[in-house]
Symmetry: C2
Subunit: 401 residues, 2 copies
Amino acid sequence: MFTINPERFLADLHRLRQFGVAGVGKGVIRPAFSAADIAARDWLAERMTEAGLAPHFDPVGNLFGMAEGQSLLVGSHSDSQPEGGWLDGALGVIAGLEIARAARDAGAPRVSVVSFQDEEGRFGVTTGSAIWSGGLSLDVADRQTDRDGVTFADARAAMAHIAKGFVDPARFTGFLEMHIEQGPWLDQAGEAVGVVTDIVGIRDMRITFDGEQNHAGTTPMHLRRDAFQGLARFNSLINERFRNVVTPRTVWTIGHVRLHPDAHSIVPGQAVFSMQWRDGDGDRLRRMEQIIRATAEEVAAQMGLGVGFGDMLGLEPVPMAARLRDALCESAEEIAPGRWRRMQSGALHDATNVSRLMPAAMLFVPSIDGISHAFAEDTGEDDLVTGLRVLAGAAARVVRV
Amino acid sequence: MFTINPERFLADLHRLRQFGVAGVGKGVIRPAFSAADIAARDWLAERMTEAGLAPHFDPVGNLFGMAEGQSLLVGSHSDSQPEGGWLDGALGVIAGLEIARAARDAGAPRVSVVSFQDEEGRFGVTTGSAIWSGGLSLDVADRQTDRDGVTFADARAAMAHIAKGFVDPARFTGFLEMHIEQGPWLDQAGEAVGVVTDIVGIRDMRITFDGEQNHAGTTPMHLRRDAFQGLARFNSLINERFRNVVTPRTVWTIGHVRLHPDAHSIVPGQAVFSMQWRDGDGDRLRRMEQIIRATAEEVAAQMGLGVGFGDMLGLEPVPMAARLRDALCESAEEIAPGRWRRMQSGALHDATNVSRLMPAAMLFVPSIDGISHAFAEDTGEDDLVTGLRVLAGAAARVVRV
């Protein structure tokens, strides 16, 4: 078995928080390829070396800490949302580092560590692991831009001087990822650990309504082609129409809206907005897509607007690998009997992509009040340590110590 | 009578368009205090000097071309929307310049010219004429900011080196403003001129809904406090509730929307948006305000959101001065018999503010397809000249030539 060192684990977790510290709560501002993100990865590479691992930056900024020979891969990502919490991603990376150290101390150095790049999607969604797993081609990714128009190609050039080739997935026997739940269920139930059964699928696309930009004082209401009014009507119609299709677990979000020209005195000539929906059932995701496209076209026709659909990101629901999932359950039952559950992940994770390459499984710890993707995100340190012990127990089972 | 020179008038109008030319149609990009705006005002000051007028920049960037003694003031504004047309404002300024030249040629140099600053509201609404007329204090205006956070005080400092004091309104016997209609009525009717009877009142305020920023995949719909959903519900409710209050002439617009953090994968924690409404009846404006405030508070309570109301801009409806309006009607009947009408102005104009200081009246020419506040704004040159002849005829009547 692996004996972890809670103090060493928590100290590294707090040290990592200093890279891009927001100064609000425990929040961090560490988007992919920002100065803070690159500095954090350099620091992680040093910790890996200290742990007897060989640091390896691949061409897209993924940082691996490689054990010799074949090994179990444990980790997550260390980039953050533009306004992120201190644990999202960072927790899984430092947990992997601590377990690799515990494995070495136990004389079984068969655990490698990874911090994937741009999981938070400055340039797409889980960009680094998507490219490594073959789900996203490097050519396509290089053309993707952030909201300021910076291309992924230009951003990753900042780390080109330390980059080596892509790591051969055959080096790894499986992947374990520890992450905050990012939802309310464990916290509300007072439970310490969630073993993920499957990760929901996601669809995400940009929709554009084109109307007619005009004067807000002199254009009569009946002659307007107001793109914002199109968005508002679309929103209320899909909220109605989804009722017959969704479950209490289904979610959909309009999180980004841009009007043009975005002025008080001008009837909006264009509205560009994001439509994202998630569910554990691929058929339901497809039914929702049909409703979204049909409703947008219907609203456009009714209101004399043009409508355009951007490329749709689509990721199917992914079940976790049985053997690894069972190891997590056994470890959870041993370390936190009666204080854990099996649950679905409503959030996308690097494990979604890695599962294309090897058996993958995930462990959740509670998010206080279910808050994440915000400075206020946090988890009790006792829960962090309990989660780490469960993960270490599962890792020991998998590498047979 | 005043004999205008159509070629000289149109040549100057096209020359002014070169300052901030957008390269799209005849569009211009000449916001208040931009380099293009300041260069255009310097050029206008030279034209005024050539016309025998004394150029005078006041402390807020209003440019007057002063005739000696008492005079009739004719003009508008030469700043533009961020994406503006070539005639909005510029037409009235060049028309004033041409009439001042015609007055001088007629041996009656009793016409002064003005180009007010920031009519298009980079910092507020009709800022320059509002300050000059006493409707807006300089202290308050100096603290107003544009969308990038630049203060009016900083912006006007760019012209401080050429600024003199405020012009004494007692120098002027009245104000005439020629402007594009910015609406569809004259164009649809094939008429050349509209004499404005009154200018509608306007209300404009910023409303903020505060919800809870959270993860768009893991936050169940029933636990969300989504600020964008608050905005959408508010929008549909006021559209319903206004039906019992408004007339076909009433207009209301949500033209600006900003979500925070404005990301695909995050439930919006905040929505800030503009609410603007206009009508010829002050009581109706007040009833609409009550509906807006009550509905926003109702939606916030229903959805667990916070709501905030910004300062409300309020301008009451303004009737045009009878004597000047009648002079415009007589001139229109003489020059364009059967091709003009009396009409209300749905747009706010500098004349709204100037009417606090002296008798003021306005003349409209058609807007092709009713388009304005857009690069596509345009008016037939024959209509521009007809409008100028009507305005010159009215000016001659007023200064008694």
